[in-house]
Symmetry: C3
Subunit: 138 residues, 3 copies
């Protein structure tokens, strides 16, 4: 069995932002030399998400509006977590969108359906955070 | 290490539908010959879900009502994604329910609790879509 | 390839409760002797969750308030699932928070970011339930 690990640094310029990291994950898979296995991609921070969906700006706008409806950023005082912080909403938004994805690796490729793309979802940005890529297989 | 892959075609007759795919996953696990490992099951399309819950029609009705409350299908015009499409709500519903499950394989069986069943959740149906089953182990 | 499995019993004293199980998972990883691989941790019951977030009591209070807003426990009669049961809301809350996490194992450790902790989220407690830990690797 082979295993491969890479950490990648994200630096979102906005509080909330969606960044397509599919090319970075593909490059990592190539580096790993693994042909058959599983690829885990996860946010290493608890106010961010890794998820799979469509690379379509209208949809990303819909995510923004929808997540603000489900777990609004403001007023900050509505959340007990916000004693010394202001990011409780980011913990909740990340819970909806998920921490991680696991992707099948087949014949050296991410084994995806037609529109699947991997996104880093930042909900408390303007700072550096890491994403983990861990691949096991052979 | 062994690896096994199967794609299965789903063809939901309704826009939204929950289909128990546990027997198909069990059959695939038997075919694979893998006794110890991990089994990934994921929707290959971004308006569908694979999740684990109870096979109880009342609960599935509750999912329908609840997801329509969290991310209503209509009016279509409330979503920016719906320029040429009408399925933005399906992308959001799938985000709540999740893309994938990872199940332990022990002694050649899906290592489940008493009521765990794997469902394909369709949120934009009346068309053919695929589910991925990828098993690694030995 | 090595594989390791452990079931751990949870016994939440409240209907809804968050229990940090990171030390138990770390102990299991040590027992397994696995240095590189993937660690799956999942609820074996469909009204409970395993998720990764911050070990901060204010945030856990925010989860309680927020999940009660998204999927209220009462009135029980609002859910079709509640014919002979009263836990439909627990099935929905668990859908938001997720069934499972998959964690990278690197150099014999759970390969975590700075604040990541694994929680068992109970949504229909006062009874014994199990969590699965399955680790594969070498």
């Amino acid at each position: 069995m082979k295993s491969y690990k890479k950490e990648i640094w994200m630096n979102a310029t906005k509080r909330r932002q969606y960044i397509n990291i599919t090319p970075i994950v593909e490059e990592s898979l190539n580096e790993s030399g693994i042909k058959e296995g599983l690829c885990l991609v996860n946010a290493m921070h608890i106010t961010a998400s890794v998820f799979i969906n469509d690379d379509e700006p209208g949809l990303h706008n819909d995510f923004e509006v929808w997540l603000e409806k489900l777990a609004p950023e403001k007023p900050y005082s509505q959340y007990k977590h916000n004693g010394f912080e202001d990011n409780a909403d980011a913990h909740l938004k990340r819970s909806v969108m998920g921490r991680e994805v696991v992707v099948a690796v087949t014949e050296g490729k991410l084994d995806f359906g037609p529109w699947e793309q991997i996104f880093y979802g930042e909900f408390d940005g303007k700072r550096k955070k890491r994403v983990m890529i861990k691949i096991i297989g052979e």
